[in-house]
C-alpha cells in the first residue's frame, strides 16, 4: 500500500522538479540583456527594460572573434535607442552609455548585459558569463544574415545548447550571410 502511494508521489515530485527546471530554462532575459552600438563618440543601448537608472553598470560583450568585455554605465534615457533595433513589439527602451573600462569597435553591435564585468570569464578569446545558477557558463555569438546581425546568448556552447536570448540588428548593408537556422529562428 505504501508502495502504491510512493510511486505516484515520486512521479509528482519528478514532474514538479521537471517543471521548475523548464521554467528556469525559459527564463526571460530580455530585461537584463540588450544591444549597444558605438558611433560618433556615442554609445546607444536598447533593451526591454524602462527601469534602469543612471550610473547603473552595463557590461558590453563583443561577440565576434576575438571576444572581449568592456564596461559602461548608463548616462540617461535616450528617445531613440539604437538605430538598428526596429519595429520591436513591445518597443524597447533607449539609453545612452558611457564607456568606463575597455573599448568596443565603432558600428559593431555588441551584447549589453546588466551588471559588472565580474560575471564574465575570458579565456582563449572566448567570453563566458555566469548569468545565474542555470546559466553558469553562458556564451555569446553573432552572425550575419542578408541585411543585419543576429546576436545570441546561449546556456552553454553556441548552437549546441539552449538559446537564452536573441536580437536582430539591422545594418542596412548587403552582408555575406554566416548564420545558421539555429541563430535566426
Amino acid at each position: 500500500m505504501k508502495l502504491m502511494l510512493l510511486i505516484p508521489l515520486t512521479l509528482f515530485l519528478a514532474f514538479c522538479g521537471g517543471a521548475r527546471s523548464t521554467d528556469t530554462r525559459s527564463m526571460d532575459y530580455s530585461a537584463r540583456i540588450g544591444t549597444a552600438v558605438q558611433s560618433g563618440g556615442h554609445v546607444c543601448f536598447s533593451i526591454n527594460n524602462a527601469k534602469l537608472s543612471p550610473k547603473s553598470v552595463v557590461s558590453l560583450v563583443t561577440p565576434s572573434n576575438p571576444q572581449s568585455v568592456a564596461e559602461a554605465e548608463i548616462i540617461g534615457h535616450s528617445a531613440t535607442g539604437c538605430p538598428g533595433i526596429r519595429n520591436e513589439t513591445p518597443p524597447q527602451s533607449g539609453y545612452e552609455l558611457k564607456l568606463v573600462q575597455g573599448t568596443i569597435q565603432d558600428f559593431m553591435p555588441v551584447i549589453a548585459v546588466s551588471g559588472g564585468a565580474d560575471q564574465f570569464t575570458s579565456a582563449a578569446s572566448t567570453v563566458t558569463a555566469h548569468l545565474g545558477t542555470d546559466a553558469a557558463n553562458a556564451s555569446f555569438r553573432s552572425c550575419t544574415s542578408s541585411d543585419g546581425v543576429h546576436l545570441t546568448v546561449w546556456r552553454a556552447k553556441p548552437l549546441q545548447s539552449t538559446r537564452l536570448w536573441h536580437q536582430y540588428y539591422y545594418m542596412g548593408q548587403d552582408l555575406e550571410p554566416t548564420c545558421t537556422e539555429k541563430d535566426t529562428r
Binding site: 526596429r86 569597435q105 542578408s146 541585411d147 548593408q173 548587403d174
Partner: protein
C-alpha cells in the same frame, strides 16, 4: 585617369530608399503592395531599395583589401568605377601600406564591420527593406482584389498572414531579416 582609392569614394553611388529606383516588374509589384498597405491604414517606413552594384563593388573590395589581405593589384575592374586601388610611394613603386590605409578609410567611411556581399537582390533592384506596423485589425486587398482581414499577431511585417498578402503581389518575405522583402524571398 583613375582616381586613387580613399574616402572620397564613399559618397559616390548612394543608396536609395525610393521604390521608383527598383527594377521592373518588382517595382510595380512593390508599389502595388505599398498602395494596398497605405489604403489599409498600415504604417510603412522604407529604409532601403536599390543599393547600386558599383557601391557594393567598392564596399566589397575595400573590405577585402583592408581586412582580408587581398593584394590591391588583384582587385578586379568594374565598368563605370574608375578606381585605382594601388597607391605608390615616392619611388613610384606600389606602397601596400598606403593602399591598405586608403581602403581602410573607405571601410570606416561606409561603416563596415562585417564582410559586405558583392551582389544581392538590393543591387539588382529587386528588394525593399521596410518596417510595417498597424493597430487593431488590418483589412487589406490582395493582388486579386479580394480583401482579407488580419487579426493575428504580431502587427508587423513578421505577420505570416501579411506575408501571404505580400506574396500575392510578388513581394516575398525573407525570414532571416525582418525588414527585407524581395522578388523571390532572398
Amino acid at each position: 585617369m583613375p582616381t586613387l582609392s580613399g574616402s572620397s569614394w564613399v559618397n559616390q553611388f548612394p543608396n536609395s530608399s525610393s521604390p521608383d529606383d527598383l527594377t521592373e516588374p518588382f517595382r510595380a509589384n512593390a508599389k502595388n503592395f505599398l498602395a494596398a498597405l497605405n489604403t489599409a491604414g498600415a504604417s510603412v517606413s522604407i529604409s532601403s531599395t536599390l543599393r547600386p552594384a558599383k557601391r557594393a563593388f567598392l564596399m566589397h573590395y575595400s573590405y577585402k583589401i583592408a581586412k582580408s589581405g587581398l593584394d590591391p593589384s588583384a582587385a578586379p575592374a568594374m565598368a563605370g568605377v574608375d578606381i585605382n586601388w594601388v597607391h605608390t610611394g615616392a619611388n613610384g613603386k606600389p606602397d601596400i601600406t598606403a593602399s591598405r590605409k586608403a581602403a581602410n578609410d573607405m571601410v570606416s567611411g561606409y561603416g563596415i564591420v562585417y564582410a559586405p556581399a558583392l551582389t544581392s537582390r538590393h543591387t539588382e533592384g529587386k528588394a525593399i527593406d521596410m518596417d510595417i506596423s498597424w493597430s487593431g485589425e488590418l483589412t487589406i486587398a490582395k493582388a486579386d482584389g479580394k480583401s482579407v482581414t488580419i487579426k493575428s499577431s504580431p502587427r508587423t511585417g513578421a505577420n505570416t498572414d501579411l506575408q501571404t498578402v505580400g506574396a500575392s503581389y510578388g513581394v516575398h518575405k525573407l525570414a532571416t531579416d525582418p525588414p527585407h522583402w524581395s522578388s523571390d524571398g532572398h
